[in-house]
């Protein structure tokens, strides 16, 4: 959930911080992802090419920290499909499957439920600062409203999903408002943009995100969340493989 949570998760910071180095800004973005628990229901709207009507999938999700994540689809076509992330393992149980299967190897690169997110996007746990060298490209007004730092991240290790990223970070909240993800060839692959933010428990939370696949015409996924509950107690049963297989 690394890429998604870069913009999904909340900012604890309240005021602008001046004279920060790019690494410090990135560290603050990383640190912002610290939370106890989260649960929400949501919708994924998936549009591919000339498809007349986008696919719409609804789900319930719950997470504890960064390493434990549960997601269950509730729309008629996928009802009962469940995902469970436990540390570095991702498990899926299909609607009619008796057992959960581990998603590994090449399968991790595949699209999650036909969306523009890959399983790997959901699996990455590494801190951005551990994987990327960062430089500040400048400051920009995002959507004409928010002052942003524009950071360029270039991979400093070989084993990294995206060779280059450009992130627009809200100067006040240290929240990634837009992320561009690039291939090794420096071609733009995906662009993730926050479309709507709401205040929840005094924290700013992005409730609508658009992930656009720049390689294919008219291909994007809208990720909408509602009924977000932060730092509320969560049952252990969500994060049990035995429970997943029931």
């Amino acid at each position: 959930m690394r890429i998604l949570s870069a913009v999904l998760l909340i900012s604890a910071c309240t005021g602008p911080v001046l004279a920060l180095t790019p690494e410090e800004i990135l560290k603050k973005v990383d640190d912002n992802q610290v939370f106890q628990t989260i649960q929400y229901s949501g919708t994924m709207v998936i549009q591919k090419g000339n498809r007349r009507k986008p696919l719409e999938k609804t789900f319930f999700a719950a997470a504890r920290g960064k390493d434990t994540f549960y997601m269950e689809f509730t729309n008629p076509g996928d009802r009962g499909t469940k995902y469970l992330k436990l540390n570095n393992e991702l498990w899926i149980k299909g609607t009619y499957a008796e057992r959960a299967d581990k998603i590994s190897g090449h399968t991790l690169r595949e699209s999650m439920m036909g969306s523009d997110y890959s399983y790997e996007d959901a699996m990455e746990n590494e801190k951005l600062t551990d994987q990327y060298d960062v430089i500040l490209l400048g400051t920009e007004k995002w959507e004409g409203k928010r002052d942003c730092y524009k950071l360029e991240l270039t991979a400093k290790v070989k084993e990294v999903s995206y060779y280059r990223q450009v992130i627009w970070v809200d100067q006040e909240r240290f929240l990634g408002l837009k992320v561009q993800l690039f291939a090794l060839s420096k071609k733009l692959l995906k662009e993730m943009t926050v479309l709507d933010i709401k205040e929840i428990k005094g924290r700013m939370f992005p409730v609508e995100i658009k992930m656009e696949n720049k390689q294919h015409r008219n291909s994007y996924t809208l990720f909408r969340t509602k009924d977000v509950q932060l730092d509320e107690p969560l049952s252990d049963s969500f994060f049990s493989k035995q429970q997943l297989e029931k």
Binding site: G49, H106, A183, S185, K187
Partner: protein, 415 residues
């Protein structure tokens, strides 16, 4: 016996139309049996040849870890440059050809259209052309040079993407280090291999391009070996010895084309069972035709049979006269069937039948192109001929016995 034969021949010629109609039905069945057998035999053998010529060579050498996850083309179990050099040296020392390859699961698109899944195969064009036959199947454009920066795609891929020679297609994949990569590559060649698995699933770039764009750094996931004779042995055993003496047997494994194509070979075995069912169907056609004809002959000649028996002909001789008559129909039908089968075989051996409009986008399980040929099958021709006559003789016993069941007096008065 001579009299019985004469009687049988006369009975056959007395009802020429009936004899011909029954014979034609038999001939058609036997001809179809010969033709279908020739075609299935060709498809089976051609598939085995194509497995070697386009997919697996004689055997493939890879790391043990790669072998366990081969279908997913893992990139984290590669052979390094030095290992590749040693393996190729051993293979070439045995007179074999060896080609290192690396497959990348990719999405191909053109003009930002929908992405199509293909395996991007990085190969050394010179070495690869000594192991595989792809070079002989170039439709347009050219087979890559070792330093080529273009991509060789199949005619199926070209049609699906609507891209041709000179167009730049986008290939999205992961590098050896699992980093997303997206490259625009010019189509420099289009092939049409007779192996549908290759046509529908693979596109080719050079290893040099993979080194520069996909971080392979001279490594490869497998080395495909082709023996000079086309047979696995004795090269396979010698290769194992060679790997052992180079100290590589702990890390590397060899899989033969039979191991790798075991799914196909199992299906092929099942299909052979299917051709036996086809023979049974032919038997039923022949049996129904002959029983019908012979029963008609018996009922038609009840009085005649009674007369012959009254004049002193034994029941055994009557039965034999009917069996010989049936054998005559069997001979005519089988002979015509074999002739027709040879004709159909000859057309299919030299011209072939183009099923492209039927099978183009369909997986029929064979590793062949859409033009089907036949193999000559003299054993099946002989078997069809004997089988046809035996069938008729066997199924004629029942109606012949019926001919002598009636009392002679009842037979003579039978209306």
């Amino acid at each position: 016996m001579k009299n019985l034969i004469n009687l049988a021949v006369k009975n056959l010629t007395r009802h020429t139309k009936r004899t011909l109609i029954t014979g034609i039905a038999m001939a058609f069945g036997i001809a179809m049996l010969i033709w279908m057998d020739g075609m299935l035999r060709w498809a089976d053998n051609e598939s085995k040849r194509n497995l070697q010529r386009y997919e697996f060579g004689n055997f493939i050498i890879s790391t043990k870890e790669f072998k366990t996850d081969r279908k997913n083309y893992p990139l984290n179990f590669m052979m390094d440059k030095e290992t590749i050099r040693k393996v190729i040296e051993i293979a070439e020392g045995l007179g074999c050809s060896a080609s290192p390859r690396t497959g990348f699961i990719s999405l191909l698109s053109f003009n930002r259209g929908f992405g199509l899944p293909y395996v991007l195969m990085a190969m050394d064009p010179e070495k690869d052309s000594r192991v595989f036959s792809l070079k002989e199947n170039i439709l347009t454009g050219k087979y890559p040079d070792p330093e080529d920066t273009g991509v060789l795609i199949s005619s199926v891929c070209s049609r699906e993407l609507n891209a041709g020679i000179g167009d730049f297609i986008t290939i999205e994949t992961r590098t050896r280090y699992n980093t997303y990569q997206s490259i625009d590559i010019k189509v420099t060649g289009i092939f049409n291999a007779p192996d549908p698995v290759v046509n529908r699933n693979q596109v080719f770039i050079t290893r040099a391009l993979a080194d520069s764009q996909l971080q392979t750094e001279g490594t490869a996931s497998e080395i495909v070996v082709r023996s000079p004779s086309g047979e696995n042995e004795p090269f396979l055993s010698r290769m194992r010895q060679g790997l052992a003496s180079a100290g590589l047997e702990k890390d590397l494994v060899i899989e033969t084309w039979q191991d790798l194509g075991s799914d196909f070979l199992a299906i092929s075995q099942t299909k052979r069972g299917g051709s036996r069912i086809f023979m049974l169907l032919i038997f039923i056609i022949v049996a129904v035709g002959i029983i019908n004809t012979m029963l008609m002959a018996v009922f038609e000649r009840v009085r005649e049979i009674g007369m012959l028996r009254a004049l002193g002909m034994s029941d055994r001789e009557v039965i034999w006269s009917f069996i010989l008559e049936a054998a005559g129909i069997g001979f005519i039908g089988s002979f015509a069937g074999v002739l027709l089968g040879i004709g159909l075989d000859a057309y299919s051996v030299y011209v072939g039948l183009d099923f492209s409009s039927l099978f183009e986008d369909m997986d029929i399980g064979y590793r062949t192109g859409s033009v089907f040929y036949n193999e000559w099958n003299p054993d099946m021709m002989l078997l069809g001929f004997i089988f046809g006559i035996l069938c008729t003789v066997l199924v004629s016993i029942l109606p012949a016995r019926k001919a002598v069941k009636m009392e002679i007096t009842d037979s003579i008065r039978y209306i």
